[in-house]
């Protein structure tokens, strides 16, 4: 079993983050609390990016297990097959930064539990698959957590240009990333590069919000 504290010490890793990100920025990332709802194609990549930033507390929720049909676009490997996504992902995140606070919830996120799960998060990323679930989560969090901003993904299917994917401010506390149109229901598939572009848009907006930048 690989052991983090034998490979690296906390001070050295934190100094490396400060060297690359700047001390002021790193202080804000380290103090932040961010949620990711759904750990599939969007959420697994978002979580990896936020762990690399050194976001102090990550709240990660998903009910599902890693399946062979996930490997084409989600941040999991063959040895993870059958494991809960929460556990498979945190294993990886601990190898990026073992000193962040990872709070995992292996359960289905619903209108009844969403606000309890993500209370205290400055920002929550919506990273579900189905349009109905996306709408449910966004409405529930915006209505129930008045101090939380939501960054959602909508429209990253198919083989269209990466340039069609963008970030926009849709409501006071809602940012929307994606092309807004390419629905999986259209049968055009979901491809790793385009899904990862959308995930990067979401993670970039989170980064900006944590630094006090509200423009998309």
């Amino acid at each position: 079993m690989w052991e983090a504290d034998k490979a690296m010490d906390r001070e050295t890793l934190e100094q490396a983050l400060i060297a690359r990100h700047g001390a002021e920025n790193q202080k804000k990332f380290a103090a932040a609390s961010v949620g990711v709802a759904g750990l599939g194609g969007l959420g697994s990549h978002i979580a990896v990016l936020l762990a690399r930033l050194g976001v102090g507390r990550l709240v990660l929720a998903d009910f599902d297990r890693v399946d062979v049909t996930n490997l084409h676009r989600q941040h999991y490997f063959l040895p993870h097959l059958g494991q809960y996504k929460t556990e498979a992902l945190v294993q990886q995140l601990r190898q990026i930064n073992p000193w962040l606070d990872y709070e995992v919830h292996t359960c289905k996120v619903s209108a009844d539990n969403a606000c309890t799960l993500f209370r205290g998060c400055q920002v929550v990323c919506e990273a579900f698959d189905k349009a109905e679930e996306k709408a449910m989560l966004v409405s529930t969090l915006l209505a129930g957590l008045p101090d939380t901003t939501v960054v959602a993904g909508s429209g990253m299917g198919g083989t269209g240009s990466a340039n069609a994917i963008r970030t926009q401010k849709a409501m006071g506390r809602l940012y929307l990333c994606g092309d807004g149109e390419s629905d999986i229901a259209l049968g055009q598939g979901l491809m790793a590069p385009r899904v990862a572009v959308c995930a990067s848009h979401q993670a970039t907006m989170v980064m900006r919000l944590l630094l006090g930048k509200s423009e998309p």
């Binding site: 996306k134 709408a135 915006l142 809602l174 929307l176 807004g180 149109e181 390419s182």
Partner: protein, 65 residues
């Protein structure tokens, strides 16, 4: 008149938020709706009455993630 996603819209025949969604062909379970700055719960779409001057933002989601 209503304002929907920044565009003016005649309110004739639109009594509730649900009426607006139906007229636009937007599925109620795939949208988030903000009315005059307040997020609405889905179960209230059919009961909240629309008035002249109301400003609505309707975000529609498509699947994939």
């Amino acid at each position: 008149m209503l304002q929907v996603n920044g565009e003016p819209l005649n309110r004739t025949g639109l009594n509730t938020v649900r009426d607006l969604l139906d007229q636009k062909g937007w599925k109620a379970d795939q949208v988030a709706v903000e009315l005059n700055g307040t997020i609405l719960r889905r179960e209230d779409f059919s009961t909240i009455r629309l008035s002249d001057g109301d400003k609505l933002e309707v975000v529609r989601f498509v699947g994939g993630g």
